[in-house]
């Protein structure tokens, strides 16, 4: 089971964090800080896997962003790498050639995509298509919510 997933920039700014086990805020911060240091210090030609505390860390860098997952000892590192890649593909499809700024400004959307892809640290759907379909439909629902309101309605005058 995946324990958590972090997205952070080369400058060490956290862009996304998802914890699949409830963790206290203080511990989260400590772990994030520690892990970022470890990962950022690694050189490009190094292995994507490392052992850290009792977890295995799998990370991959896409452009300026590091995607970093912590999995348990028995988990398969390579499939985790594929999970990361699949997530990047999903973001790419959704935003249309995704860049760091997309994730910064639409961070809630990025979370929604991640939530449709992984749930409780397990892969929910292995098909890209069905994940994207679910997101689209949820977005449609959201727009329906928003669209009928005219400006006047919103101001409480209608």
């Amino acid at each position: 089971m995946m324990r958590f997933m972090l997205l952070f920039s080369r400058q060490g700014k956290l862009r996304l964090q998802k914890w699949y086990t409830a963790t206290a805020e203080r511990d989260k911060k400590k772990m994030v800080r520690e892990l970022m240091q470890v990962v950022l210090a690694r050189k490009p030609k190094m292995s994507s896997f490392l052992e850290w505390r009792d977890l295995k860390i799998v990370y991959k860098r896409y452009a300026s962003l590091y995607f970093c997952c912590a999995v348990e000892e028995q988990d398969n590192e390579l499939i985790t790498l594929e999970v990361i890649h699949r997530f990047v593909e999903l973001l790419d499809k959704y935003f249309g050639s995704v860049c760091e700024l997309d994730i910064i400004f639409n961070f809630e959307k990025a979370y929604f995509i991640l939530d449709e892809f992984l749930i409780g640290g397990e892969i929910q759907d292995t098909s890209k298509k069905s994940v994207l379909k679910a997101i689209e439909q949820a977005d449609l629902l959201q727009e329906e919510d928003e669209s009928p309101r005219s400006v006047l309605e919103e101001m409480g005058l209608a």
Binding site: M1, L14, R15, L16, Q17, K18, W19, Y20, A22, T23, A24, E25, K29, K43, K45, M46, S47, S48, F49, L50, E51, D54, E72, E73, Q74, N76, E77, L78, I79, L81, E82, I104, F105, F107, E108, Y111, F112, D115, E116, I119, G120, E122, I123, Q124, D125, T126, S127, S130, A134, Q137, A138, L141, Q142, D145, E146, E154, M155, G156, L157
Partner: protein
């Protein structure tokens, strides 16, 4: 009303949305914290409004801030409000915020149960979806219990979108609320054959995870999974299934045989690296469980490994896999030695370290020299100090495996700069030179060169630096100086002025060994017919050079140097009279040093007629009061000692018992960095073996005569203690053992040794049947406590020890009572103003102390914690927690134990003897304030009563006359405490005096408590 709404909406037009916030933060890089604090103020205003859209916007912004590391827990209630909005847009934001911010101790989670239930049963599948997603992040045991049924229903929902989510969430529910597993399992099994592939893979996922935790319950599903494995084409699912089989095969070897073929097929056919890796891993697991070698299959593993070993990530995994194969099939790994050696050149340190581990495991007699040579080549180009140090340790380890002929390698190693393994190399040099006679001549020659080139090594003079090897070099040259070809040159090298820059302990060895060398040189010179002036010159050399060392600031060096200087001066005088001195000087250092095996002592038989357990001298008998004192001390030590062994028990130990003890001791030592001290667990096993029932305790009658020999007092005390223990329904074996240990030590040391007399007190623990809270009570300088804790760990004994006026040392014995490995223990205590746990420099006031060892099952170990105490007048309780990781074969869980440390006032008292004249002077001085206490209905003999006070409260008897006794004790801060105890008709009155009335009051209360408990 309308106006208010309009006003709110207009305000809203000026509100920041999330994008504005992000942009704003990016524009305020210099004063981000300030900007954010104004934003948070705005958000607080927004949260106060009734408009849900405003609130949702605010919560969305908070979620972003939370990610940046700002505390938003104060808005938990607002998040719940947004979650319960009927609009999906807001609900989605609310659940997102909740899943990011909530954790088990968030109290508003309780309020969400009904809302979540409502959302789960919503007709809109996306409402249900977000609720499930949110739940997966913050599900608590309570939520799991309340919602398990609802989620179970959703597993049969018409929409596959909901079904797969529900199935995956069920796993989280099982973890939090295991009772739900049984009713849900049939339905989960159904889902393995769900028409939707997503749901199917979800079910595989969950069952696979469950099976990894507890494989044997899932063996029956093996055929079903086998079918799935051969039919499925989805790599993600295949990986899970194969992993599941990896967990199952150790339990069912037949399964392994069946698996090998489809797995090898997959290995050869798949292009997906992840699947390949999983297959390889499982094949390895299968091979291990089959144990019979299947060479052709392991060959296929290697093929696949070497086929893909070009990319760096796979190299790492390949090496990992290799190390697994190595354990069972070392031969098949051997053929890849070159490949592995190549990995040593890799840029990635973790790959290099893995490769090194592998090489270390591969070493055999045949290839040792080859591997070491290769490694030596690598030492030169190795980058990174950690890696180089690791490399060095490994080389030394490898070499020491083979024992012989590696002095030259060690010398080679010393040429490396900047390593911190000097000490290790030195000890290895000494070891080899002493152990292997054949190598001595060679070693001495090498060492002499080393000494001659000492200036090359002295660049690094810090403590573990490489100059440590000079320590070994000097010693070897001195001790085995007869092998030296040019002792004179070496002697000169050792007395160079530069030596004075070396660390003190090395200089000391230099000086001492210079003397040994001198002896050898003299003998050589006097043996030759040459004139005696040469010999005199040698003496002169020493006399010239030694004063340098006499001035050393290091005392050891100074002392040795001045000793030897005087000796040499005397020798010179004799030489001038033409006396042959060589023989006598050599005699100073005569005697060969032979290596002795650590167990050699055991092989020496005990001479006939020698009984090691008999007193050599009769124990001295003193005056009456002294006798009384000793008796009480003796009793104190044995007080809770229920399992009494008679002395000659040592002879009862049979061979099997010994083997068992040795086993245990080894395990203990392996885990204990300071294994010199007594090992409690070995005693434990010993005791288990001998059994408690044989001890004739029961027959002893209560009505003991007033003047009883020590033994009877002990027995009586034991009986009572046992009754008490039974009453409390606390059968704690460990307690008895601890008592046993204390008693034995006492017995060994004899009554005279004062420092050992500090009584080992047994103290009752108030566990109050609560598994969570433990009360570690703290009454005496040396306290033994036993605690039976919940499932995993037993914090057994606490020994307090008082040293100076403000420090209390608490020894905690941790015993692992579960079957799993326990590691990463962290001991933390919430400091009070008065008592603080002493933490290392740089640690924060709330940081826990890491317990410096790990515990395999059944092993116990002791850790010490120092507390500083300011005020000792009041008793105190400190709350603490112990966190640790329990590691079982397939998982590791983080656990926490809460406990209380109870420092009573008596724990600050130290048993101090006092003479009656000093005592009366103290009372006359008038500095002491009085207080008194009456105890009714005490029906025990007076000397028992005194013993009890001495034992539990650390007093010593000053004088006793009939039914009246005076007692004394002193606190760690030097407060005097005097008691006058009188008894008449079952009533005991205690008049007490102390210069600190508060302390006195508390101690008297504690004494009262002690007597009310018996």
């Amino acid at each position: 009303m309308a106006l208010k709404i309009v006003k709110g909406s207009i305000d809203r037009m000026f509100d920041k949305n999330l994008q504005d916030l992000v942009r704003g933060i990016r524009n305020h890089k210099e004063d981000e914290a300030k900007y954010i604090s104004t934003c948070i103020d705005e958000i607080k205003q927004e949260l106060k409004q009734d408009n849900i859209a405003v609130k949702a916007n605010a919560v969305c912004k908070l979620t972003y801030l939370q990610m940046l590391g700002y505390d938003v827990s104060w808005a938990a209630f607002n998040i719940v409000e947004v979650m319960s909005s009927s609009k999906f847009t807001y609900k989605r934001i609310g659940y997102l915020a909740a899943s990011q911010c909530f954790h088990e101790s968030t109290d508003v989670i309780m309020l969400t149960t009904n809302q979540i239930r409502k959302d789960l049963s919503s007709p809109n599948q996306y409402d249900t979806g977000v609720a499930l997603t949110g739940l997966s992040c913050f599900v608590t045991p309570d939520l799991a219990r309340d919602l398990a049924n609802d989620i179970m229903t959703l597993m049969s929902h018409t929409k596959p979108y909901i079904r797969k989510k529900a199935v995956l969430i069920m796993y989280k529910v099982f973890l939090k609320y295991p009772e739900s597993l049984r009713p849900a399992f049939p339905r989960l099994k159904e889902k393995l054959e769900d028409p939707d592939p997503g749901v199917q893979s979800a079910a595989v996922n969950v069952i696979c995870e469950l099976a990894r935790r507890n494989p044997k319950n899932y063996l029956s599903l093996a055929p079903l999974f086998f079918k799935l494995m051969t039919s499925s084409t989805n790599n993600w699912v295949l990986i899970k299934i194969i992993k599941l089989f990896g967990a199952l095969t150790p339990l069912e070897p037949r399964l392994g045989k069946k698996l090998i073929e489809p797995l090898t097929n997959l290995i050869h056919s798949t292009s997906a690296m992840s699947l390949l890796y999983e297959c390889v891993n499982t094949v390895i697991a299968v091979l291990i469980s089959l144990s019979s070698g299947m060479p052709n299959h392991s060959a296929s593993i290697q093929v696949s490994f070497s086929r893909h070993a070009h990319t760096f990530s796979l190299k790492y995994l390949g090496l990992l896999a290799m190390s697994k194969i190595l354990k069972t099939h070392p031969k098949s790994v051997q053929s890849h030695k070159d490949l592995i050696l190549q990995c040593l050149d890799d840029k990635d340190e973790s790959i290099r370290l893995r490769a090194l581990d592998l090489l270390y495991g591969m070493v055999s007699k045949k290839n040792l020299m080859e591997i070491v040579k290769k490694l030596m080549l690598h030492v030169d180009k190795a980058e990174g100090t950690t890696y180089r140090d690791e490399l060095l340790t490994k080389i030394i380890d490898i070499c020491s495996q083979s024992n012989y002929q590696y002095i030259s390698i060690l010398v080679e190693l010393t040429r490396l700069e900047g390593t911190r393994h000097g000490h290790l190399i030195a000890s290895q040099m000494l070891d080899v030179a002493i152990r292997v006679k054949a190598i001595r001549a060679f070693a001495v020659a090498q060492m002499a060169t080393l000494l001659d080139n000492a200036h090359l090594l002295t660049g690094n003079t810090q403590r573990n630096g490489i100059c440590e090897v000079l320590y070994a070099a000097a010693w070897i040259c001195g001790e085995f100086s007869e092998h030296l070809e040019e002792p004179m040159a070496t002697l000169e090298a050792m007395l160079r002025p530069k030596v004075a820059t070396l660390p003190g302990h090395i200089q000391a060895v230099y000086v001492q060994n210079a003397a040994k060398l001198f002896a050898t040189v003299l003998r050589g010179q006097e043996g030759a017919p040459a004139d005696s002036t040469v010999a005199q010159e040698t003496s002169q050399l020493l006399i010239d050079r030694l004063p340098l060392f006499v001035q050393s600031s290091n005392l050891e060096v100074q002392e040795r140097a001045s000793c030897i200087l005087q000796l040499v001066k005397y020798i010179q005088k004799l030489q001038q009279k033409d006396v042959e001195v060589a023989e006598e000087v050599t005699a100073l250092f005569a005697g060969e040093l032979n290596p002795v095996a650590p167990k050699a002592q055991k092989k020496v038989p005990v001479p006939e007629g020698l009984d090691l357990d008999v007193w050599i001298n009769e124990p001295p008998s003193g005056s009456e009061s002294e006798d009384e004192g000793r008796k009480s001390k003796g009793k104190a030590v044995f007080a809770k000692d229920e399992s009494r062994h008679t002395k000659p028990r040592y002879t009862e130990v049979d061979e099997k018992e010994l083997a068992k003890r040795r086993e245990v001791r080894k395990a203990e030592q392996a885990n204990n960095p300071f294994y010199i001290k007594a090992s409690p667990s070995s005693q434990k096993v010993y005791q288990d073996g001998v059994g408690v029932e044989h001890i004739p305790v029961v027959q002893i009658d209560l009505s003991v005569p007033l003047k009883v020999p020590d033994q009877y007092v002990k027995l009586e005390e034991e009986r009572r203690e046992r009754n008490k223990a039974d009453k409390k329904k606390k059968k704690d074996k460990k307690k008895r053992e601890k008592g046993e240990k204390g008693r034995r030590r006492r017995g060994d040391s004899g009554p005279e040794s004062e420092e050992d007399i500090t009584p080992a007190h047994m103290v009752d623990i108030v566990t109050e049947e609560m598994p969570e809270w433990i009360d570690l009570r703290f009454i005496s300088p040396l306290i033994l406590l036993s605690l039976s804790l919940a499932p995993h760990l037993q914090v057994c004994d606490i020994q307090g020890n008082l040293q100076d006026g403000s420090q209390v040392v608490v020894s905690v014995i941790f015993e692992n009572k579960c079957d799993s490995f326990i590691k990463s223990m962290e001991f933390n205590v919430l400091d009070s103003l008065n008592s603080k746990l002493q933490r290392p420099d740089g640690a924060g006031p709330h940081d826990g102390l890491i317990v410096p060892f790990q515990l395999p099952p059944g092993i116990s170990n002791e850790a010490r914690f120092i507390f500083s105490v300011q005020n000792i007048v009041m008793p105190q309780k400190l709350k603490g927690t112990l966190t640790f990781i329990v590691k079982t074969d397939d998982s590791s869980t983080h656990e926490k134990l809460d406990f209380k440390l109870h420092f009573t006032c008596t724990s600050y008292l130290i048993t101090t003897p006092c003479y009656s004249d000093a005592y009366s002077k103290l009372l006359e001085s008038g500095d002491l304030k009085g207080c008194s206490l009456k105890l009714e209905g005490v029906n025990q003999p007076f000397h028992h009563l005194l013993a009890r006070i001495c034992f539990h409260h650390h007093f010593s008897v000053v004088e006793r006359i009939d039914s009246c006794a005076s007692m004394y004790s002193r606190s760690i801060q030097g407060h005097h405490m005097c008691l006058l105890v009188k008894t008449a008709d079952q009533t005991v009155s205690i008049d007490a005096k102390c210069d600190e009335p508060g302390l006195l009051g508390n101690v008297l209360d504690e004494i009262k408590l002690t007597f009310s408990q018996c």
